[in-house]
Amino acid sequence: MSRRAFWKDFWRTLRKSATRFLSIMAITALGVGFYAGITATEPDMILSADRYYQAQNLADFSILSPLGFRPEDIGQIRQLPGIQAAEPRYFKDVFLTDPAGQRLTVRLTSHAAGDRLNRPLLLDGRLPEAADEIVLEGGGELNMAAELPIGSSLTASVPNGEQLADSLASQTFTIVGHIQSPQYISMERGQTNIGDGTIDAFGLVSTSTFLAERVMLVQVRTEDSMALTAYTEAYDQHLDTLEHDLLAMGQAAVGAETAELRAKLQENKDKLLSEKRQAEQKLVAAGLALRDAELKIEDGERELAEQEARFRAELLDGKTELEDGRKAYYDGMLDYLAGYDSWLAGYLTWQNSREKLQQAQAELALGKLKLEQGEKDLASGKQQLDAANEQLAMLSQTVTALKQIRAGIPDSPGPGLSEADFARLLATVREFSPELADYIETYYDPNDPDMLEQLRAFLDTSLAQLERTYQEGLAEYQAGLSEYEAGKKELARQQAAYTAGLAEVRAGQASLDKGKIQIDSGKAELDLARRRLDQAKVKLDAGELDMIRGELELDEELARGRAELEAARQELAEGRSEYEAGKETALAEIAKAEAEIREAQRQLVEIPQEWFVSTREANPGYSGFGDDAARIGAVARIFPVFFFLVAALVCLTTMTRMVEEERTQIGTLKALGYSTFAISAKYLAYALLASSSGAVLGLLTGFWIFPATIMNAYAIMYAIPEFITPPHLATGLLATGLALATTLLAALSASLSALKAVPAVLMQPKAPRPGKRIILERIAPLWKRLSFSQKLAARNVFRYKQRLLMTVIGIAGCTALLLTGFGLKDSINAIVGKQFDEIFLYDGLVMIDTEKNGAEAELDSVLSGEEDLESYLKTRSESVAVVVGHSSQTHAATLLVPSQSESFERYFDLHERVSRQKLSLNSGGVIVSEKLADLLALDAGDTITFRDTENRTYSAPVSGITENYLTHYLFMSPQTFDQITFRTPASNGAVFTLKDPDAFDASAFQERLLAHDTILGSMLTLSLAKEFAKTIGSLDLVVLVLIAAAGALAFVVLYNLISINITERIREIATIKVLGFRDREVSLYVFRENIVLTLFGTLAGLLLGVTLHRFVMDTMEIDAIMFGKTIHWTSFLFSLLLTALFSVLVNAVMHGRLRKIKMVESLKSAE
């Protein structure tokens, strides 16, 4: 393409797509301007301030010596390497009363003609020369002395107990001019130990006004300071060594001067301590001795009691034993008597039986005799019987023999009997009866034959006679025998009876004998028992005697012991009363010693130890301004980047779209043989022109408008004479470079990707993106429930992923910015709400003038007389400077000590923020407000160091960290205060609660109070809260800027995206128009997806906003204030609604555009 053709085409394209060009330009301008402007604000603020500081030669160090500087001290300071100047200053805080009677607390600082440091900026008039001339601060709404014109005369005064003439050469001053000072750029004027503790204004008077011998303040400027910019790291670093040196020098100087005093105080204290210790020891020793004696008595008593108890127990034991013995004895005796009775009965029975036995024996003996007689009779009877028997037997024999003989004598007369036979017969008869034989022999002749007969007859007669005799004898014998047998039987019976009787007697004798033995042994046993009993009786009697004797002895002994104890007791009582008397005096002495020691300790604690070396950071105005600048810097590091990013994204899509639209032309050119570069050059040039003109526009306005606006807001708070907004080359180049790079890259990548295709393809209209099913459709139940148009919207949302992302990001950014803005407001508002409603429960406070006598008592009487007050609590509050680590930096805080801790919680709700745990004052330490604890990285248990307005430095343990938003507080109980300072906290005011705050007439109350001389004034929490709310109102601007930026962002993003959307789908839109869709339906057809995307974006934005808000809060917080950490739900709602509003606005504009779409042309265009 020839040059001319190129430019012709270029310009035509440009003209044709003026909106697109302008939109790229605008978004670039917006992004670059915002980025550059916000980024430049921090350096601009710092440059503006530094210019002022340099012009006025603001000191780098301000050194205060509690003892005052000796000339050689100043000389030494000057000799330190790196010191450019060290100038002495006097200062004095006084009350100045103007002719109208208004009293101000003013810090007067000396001014000499040759002073080069901290040069005041003269607003009008001239600087003071004479001792009674003064210049006061002027200009600006910040200061209270502004309305006093030149020539006004002021009367100086000091609190009671001090003589003004001691320190100042003049009592009245004439105002000769008004100044501003680089030392006082903020509202803060510092703290003082007079009046209510705050300085209202500063003034300069001539050095000659001051009568003090020693200089209190030395201002120091370093050599390098001129070359370094305030607030920079380089500046801060260059102070380090010097600060260290100055601190060391101060410690040495003050140490040397106070060494003697310290030693003397210490010695005195030690002496007092040892005296006190001695007195205490003596007292303790006496007490101990007394106690010893007491103990001894107690021991004796106890011993006595123990002994008595023991003896009594023993006696009792003996007695019981004795009783038991006696009882046993009586029992024994009873047993014995019973035994004797039974024995006696036995004995009698025995005797009875013996008698019976003897009788039986006698009877038996008689029986025996009878028996013997019977025996004898029987025996003789027997003998007779036997003889009879023998006769009988002989008779029998004779008979027999006779019979035989007879049998032997034949019956016939025969032969006669031979002689032999007769002989034999005779022998035979002889044998039986010799008489017979004789008789036969004699009368019978064996030879006579008749003889035989005769014999026979004889024999027969003899025989018969014999037989008869025999028979008679035999019968007689038989009778005798039976008689004998009966007699014998009788005898045997008698014999048996006798034998039985004898056995009986014998058994009776045996048992009698046995009984006798038993009786005898029983008797012996009884006798033994009796003997034993008698013995026991003797013993018992002896025991009883012993017992009685023992008891008597014990009583005697006890009485003796008691008497002894009584004596000891008496002695002790005497000793005690003596001791008590001594103790009182000793205690009084110890108390006195203690008070003296406390005084010595207080003096020791209050001895200054060093110079107070302050860098500019210690100046609240200086550091506050630096913090604010840094805060803006922090915002600059996140917000504009965000903004910039979105701008870049918008440019990218726009360029891509443009290239796509011209693809036919690109294809044609490519087909004609133009090089890739030649073709893409057009788009590069387009992007370059659009973005660079945008960037330039952005820089021109941005560098000026943003810093100026923001600094203008800060001008209300800081007295910097002039704010400058120089361009910043680096920032400008960076922003422009980034913008150009982004758009160029976008153009390049878009055109290159288009150029990759072959010309033929390119020349055809890019096929509309083919439809595709989306994931949602897979979820059949859900998909089915959607209406047709909802389905369509859902598909369209996912059809163009890039646009989806862009829209969501853009909208999310918008919502996030809005939420951050609103959240910021919430956080600030939370301060007032929480601080004055939840933490400060009191409704107001009263301050009294402690210089006046009886102020406290009057306060009591006045406040208890006020009917509207519910209750009040006297407090001591003082301004203290809390020391940061080992540096010279301090944080101003209010030390608040109630007169008593009990009802304290009715006025202050001290609690830990997260856990809501209540904090008690009575934990022996200081309760520190949260922000201060954060700044000092303090935790419960750490030690906090602070300095009061009299420059006394104290350290105390931190016992808790309390939720607090506004300024810093230290709370302690009066006891803790006492322990730390060795002073009693005198109240200098009171906090009170009202019965009905709504119905309270504040001004009448104020008037009544001020009628009292001792009361300095009162303040209602409500008005305090209002006041504060007003001062932080300037932050509303930030919120507004954020909202505006968010709106612009939302608009640009949405407009761009919808615009692209419409162009891309113009045929589709024309088609549905042809189908008869009404305008509203057409718009909805397009917007429905935007609504969905806006919804997504908004939700994402709310999440993002919470994070962004937290970040902003963390970076924007100022030292003296803790912002609320939570966003109110209405802010979420507003952000949401505003985003919706922006999106509706864009859609409304787009609706117009959609209406204007011509169906005929649109449908033709692609062909």
């Binding site: 083919p770 047709f788 389905k791 369509l792 369209n796 692609a1166």
Partner: protein, 233 residues
């Protein structure tokens, strides 16, 4: 009075200084249920006339009456309603919504119409019953044109206007499409107007309108229109 009547219709286009008379006093009429064909050289003003008749554009002079309604006097809003309920359009390049399936494309038209036909039935009628779930990109040109016709028919319009419906199709497919249109006219008694370059097609029309240079050169009624199959071109 005829069903459709155009009288002295004039349409001009202003292009900077130049004014082009795209349609220069066109008058013709078409009866209800006719299958009319408009032929003429390129640039003769056919499309312009059709657009005017379809309510997509506004005329400068003359009157257009459809079903005794003077639509040439309609406001934009009324024209929208007219298009919505009375007109069916078929374009040379189909103009389907790419992000909708064949069936959904038909549904898009059906859902805004009062007396819409059953969508699936219409699709079946154009022979696409088994392709209705496809996206246009997945269909051939002829199939896409069928979808376009189905979309037009689904609304059950009084008037079906087709601007070179076969222009982008091969002969056979073109014939099939034309047959579909002719059948529609015959079966439903729908008035169909088809623009074409192809004079051969005049044989199948009930009425033929010839245009030239923005004017009606000639118009006649075919006593015996031929079925599409018998036309050769």
């Amino acid at each position: 009075m005829s069903y459709i009547e155009l009288q002295d219709v004039v349409k001009r286009y202003k292009m900077g200084e130049v004014t082009i008379q795209a349609v220069n006093g066109v008058s013709f009429s078409i009866e209800k249920g006719e299958f009319a064909v408009v032929v003429g050289a390129s640039g003769a003003g056919k499309t312009t006339v059709l657009n005017l008749l379809g309510g997509m554009d506004k005329l400068d002079e003359g009157t257009i009456r459809v079903d005794s309604e003077t639509i040439s006097r309609y406001s934009d809003k009324m024209l929208t309603e007219y298009r919505r309920y009375d007109i069916g359009f078929v374009f040379q390049f189909y103009n389907l919504v790419q992000n909708l399936t064949a069936r959904e494309n038909v549904e898009l038209a059906a859902q805004i119409s009062r007396q819409a036909l059953d969508i699936d039935e219409v699709i079946a009628q154009v022979g696409l019953a088994d392709r209705k779930g496809n996206f246009p990109a997945q269909l051939s040109g002829g199939e896409q044109q069928r979808v376009a016709i189905a979309r037009a028919l689904a609304k059950r319009p009084k008037l079906l206007l087709c601007d070179e419906p076969t222009g982008a199709l091969d002969d056979t497919t073109g014939k099939a499409i034309l047959k579909l249109l002719q059948d529609t006219s015959r079966l439903h008694g729908m008035t169909v107007i088809v623009i074409t370059h192809n004079s051969a097609l005049t044989a199948m029309a009930d009425r033929v309108i010839r245009m030239k240079n923005g004017q009606v050169q000639e118009q006649h009624v075919n006593a015996q229109p031929l079925p599409v199959e018998r036309i050769e071109w």
